[in-house]
Symmetry: C2
DNA sequence: GTTCTTGCAAACCTTTTGCAAGCAC
DNA sequence: GTGCTTGCAAAAGGTTTGCAAGAAC
């Protein structure tokens, strides 16, 4: 089946770069591929992977996802939930539009046209295009109508709107600041 | 000066919705406005605000930023660093293009044209447009040339590429999952 | 046999929260 | 005076890491 092919591709990529093929990595990759429509989080991945091998540890999930990410084999999707979700690159782009006030998310129309536009933008900068999910913030009509009259946040406020921010372990690398 | 006007606007917005004007909130708002080109993080904000009033606590920064965010007065920018940065809405959009492999970030050209395109997309969905920074992932030419031959990540890999993921306190609300 | 990987548990770090004191109105 | 806000310190919770045991090659 399709996912067999896909996962072979991933495994070859790993091998080619000198990484070992462990059963854990196989399971995680397969899980990622079989659930590629779902934007799995680390926790989703853990549950799915542990259904196949309950001994897989969370650290292995993180390390594998990190590895695939660094190899360019996995995209991060930020839903402003306080953690990332994943998607395989090399598929169609998706466009999410979410309301800054109430948090509602919709899938935008005409993704193919929009993808072509983004691709053009990227290539104009001499970068190589990578299909991904783009999240655009806006205000839905309902919230816009109710807006300045209503007190939309009963104090004490928290949660950065609907999203949350991120903590993480010891930093290193990173993409530099500003500019 | 300009920032005086801006901050009056913010203060009025707070008052109008029944929130109190404290000296801490004033400082944080002023700092945000005076550094609006810089995409400050909570830590940047803390340093800047504490230069004016060393007793301001980090919790107040978070609570204020949360409040402004819920009121639609502040946008979150995710640089995949493991925490958010902030920007004031109501300004020009910015477009960042970053390399998925090496993490390099560039500012894209023709932001005005691109902004018009995004505005059109948003309004086609009957949402109200909000200027913001959009981050687009891609692969830079250099990394693309070096790509499959090089082992770009010496094991053990970590850091989700160059970015990091997020942890957070107790959740609540949220934007739902998938779909 | 050597070197990379894993699992566990502890460490990290950002963000949130409980609570008593303080301040805005 | 009432009740929102603040600061502190502790808790929360996602992610990373040190290390010894195990697996891939």
């Amino acid at each position: 089946m399709l996912s067999g092919k896909m996962s072979d591709q991933y495994k070859e990529e790993l091998k080619k770069r000198g990484f070992r093929l462990t059963s854990q990595r196989e399971i995680i990759i397969r899980t990622l591929i079989e659930n590629s429509g779902k934007h799995c989080s680390v926790n989703d991945l853990r549950e799915l992977a542990q259904a196949e091998d309950p001994t897989i540890g969370i650290a292995t999930i993180y390390r594998t996802v990190n590895l695939l990410s660094r190899l360019g084999l996995l995209n991060l999707v930020n839903m402003e939930e306080g953690f990332y979700r994943f998607e395989l690159p090399g598929q169609k782009m998706h466009f999410h539009l979410y309301c800054r006030i109430c948090g509602k998310v919709i899938h935008m129309e005409d993704e193919t046209d929009k993808e072509a536009t983004v691709k053009k933008w990227v290539e104009e900068e001499a970068f190589h295009f990578l299909p991904q999910t783009l999240e655009i913030a806006a205000v839905c009509d309902e919230c816009h109508r109710n807006f300045p009259e209503n007190n939309i946040a009963g104090p004490p406020c928290s949660g950065f709107g609907h999203g949350r921010m991120g903590g993480h372990g010891r930093g290193q690398g990173g993409r530099g600041r500003w500019r």
